[in-house]
């Protein structure tokens, strides 16, 4: 039966084939959610439920939790998140170029080097500003 999935490529890719691929993406997201639901549903049939207030206290090394749970976090994570956005956008721009490099040739190569160089300067700046050090 498993062999039946192997569908021969027939002729040109049509628009509906393109859309169907993306519909499959949606469906697979749904399958993932369904799997979690099935597991949790199965668990709810089997598991006991003897709730006590003590069981609902946060774990804080065995003592009663102190203060607000949603406390402030270290600002450094924010800096790293910003740098991530910088380089991730860079990656978005490089991908189409990388796939078409043969067509662009030397022109595309030089063009992209300038782009990468400017972004590398950004990384160097953060490095010199000691933002990459944790402490």
């Amino acid at each position: 039966m498993a062999l039946l999935i192997y569908q021969r490529e027939t002729g040109l890719k049509t628009m509906s084939e393109f859309l169907r691929n993306w519909l499959t993406v949606l469906i697979f997201g749904g399958v993932g959610i369904l799997l979690v639901s099935v597991f949790l549903g199965l668990g709810s049939l089997l598991r006991p439920s003897r709730d006590t207030p003590q069981k609902r206290i946060n774990y804080e090394s065995g003592v009663d939790p102190q203060g607000d749970m949603w406390s402030q976090a270290n600002i450094r994570y924010y800096v790293f998140a910003l740098m991530f956005v910088l380089f991730d956008v860079e990656a978005v721009f490089i991908f189409p170029w990388a796939a078409r490099l043969e067509v662009y040739g030397l022109f595309g190569l030089v063009e992209m080097f300038i782009f990468i160089f400017i972004l590398a300067l950004g990384l160097l700046y953060a490095w010199r500003k000691r933002l990459l050090r944790w402490v």
Binding site: L4, W22, F28, V31, S44, F95
Partner: protein, 345 residues
């Protein structure tokens, strides 16, 4: 081999049902295999012990016993927790895993989806799990969870970059973002005019392969990059408040993703479903392709788990510095070098 031409035209919904079932197999089976073979058995042998031996022959049914155990555990969540976010987190993590398996081709005609932006989709959906982990950390309303969730997010975004940039070298060489065509480019490639084994990109992109391996190790928060769940500092990080089945679901997600990332590494760098000496368009590969891919996946994940059992944990600052000061510059150099070589030759 006419027998494989049974591959008759099916309606889209029939294909989708079969694909969904095969997708479930492709997610759960490697996860189980990795946990039993490597996490239970290999780690035990490396530590001079036997590992699970009671459930089934050589403990092979241990996993089923574990699932049975977790199913019977009480489902608790903290009073202070943000219930919706807390409950939604495992869904997001697992959905991300299922979207990731989509792009893997297992044969010339055996694929879930065949789109021209496959690499892009894989790298995009792999970062959805960051959101799930942040949701788990924030929704638990526990200090350990919050710190663990933030550490995980910081680590995952930091190593996302080397991961993405290491694949760029492969994309430049293959000249396409279609995963299927990347496999074919390796199958039909030549090394200095000699096409005996094709051109698996691990040879020309060795640096990229190493960066990719380190990055997926960190993306999976496996030791030595397991700061987000460092038990000596923050209990189990973002998993602290999770119990029973929800706890197990995070682990299923983690090991399923380990298998899929290994398979992606095998596809990008080791030639995917192709083995040298055969015609890549042959129908035979629809049958043996999945097995070849699983074999290569086990090889790559062996490396991942080997590192996992060998090295001690990084410090948080060392971890961030490795990503930003070593891996990102190295992968930029790799892109530049690959680009130059591609244009020159």
């Amino acid at each position: 081999m006419t027998v494989f031409n049974l591959a008759i035209e099916l309606a889209y919904w029939q294909q989708t049902v079969i694909r969904s079932i095969l997708g479930l197999v492709a997610v759960l089976l490697p996860a189980g295999t990795l946990v039993y073979l490597y996490l239970f058995k290999m780690m035990s042998f490396m530590q001079s012990r036997l590992g699970p031996m009671e459930a089934g022959p050589y403990g092979s049914l241990q996993l089923l016993a574990e699932v049975g155990k977790f199913l019977q555990k009480e489902d608790l969540f903290p009073r202070a927790a943000d219930r919706v976010v807390f409950k939604a987190a495992p869904f997001v993590v697992l959905a991300s895993t299922f979207l990731l398996v989509l792009v893997l081709p297992a044969g010339p005609d055996a694929w879930f989806i065949n789109i021209d932006t496959g690499v892009f989709l894989a790298l995009a959906v792999s970062s959805i799990s960051v959101i799930g982990i942040l949701m788990a950390g924030w929704g638990s309303a526990s200090k350990y969870s919050l710190i663990g969730g933030l550490r995980a997010a910081g680590q995952l975004v930091a190593y996302e970059l080397p991961l993405v940039l290491a694949v760029m070298g492969v994309v430049i060489q293959a000249g396409t973002l279609n995963v299927q065509e990347i496999v074919l480019a390796q199958a039909n490639g030549e090394i200095f005019g000699w096409g005996g084994i094709g051109n698996p990109f691990i040879i020309t992109q060795f640096l990229g392969f190493m960066i990719f391996l380190v990055a997926i190790q960190a993306e999976l928060t496996q030791p030595p990059f397991d700061m987000p769940v460092a038990e000596s500092e923050i209990v189990t990080g973002y998993l602290t408040e999770y119990t029973g089945m929800r706890f197990l679901l995070f682990f299923i997600g983690e090991f399923a993703t380990a298998g899929i990332f290994s398979a992606l590494a095998a596809t990008f760098f080791l030639g995917g479903w192709y083995i040298p000496g055969l015609d890549p368009t042959s129908n035979l590969f629809n049958l043996i392709g999945p097995l070849v891919l699983v074999g290569k996946m086990l090889l790559v994940s062996f490396l991942i788990f080997w590192f996992r059992f060998t090295y001690p944990r990084f410090r948080e600052d060392q971890l961030q510095q490795l990503a930003w000061k070593v891996l990102v510059p190295l992968s930029l150099v790799n892109i530049v070098a690959t680009g130059v070589l591609k244009v020159v030759f």
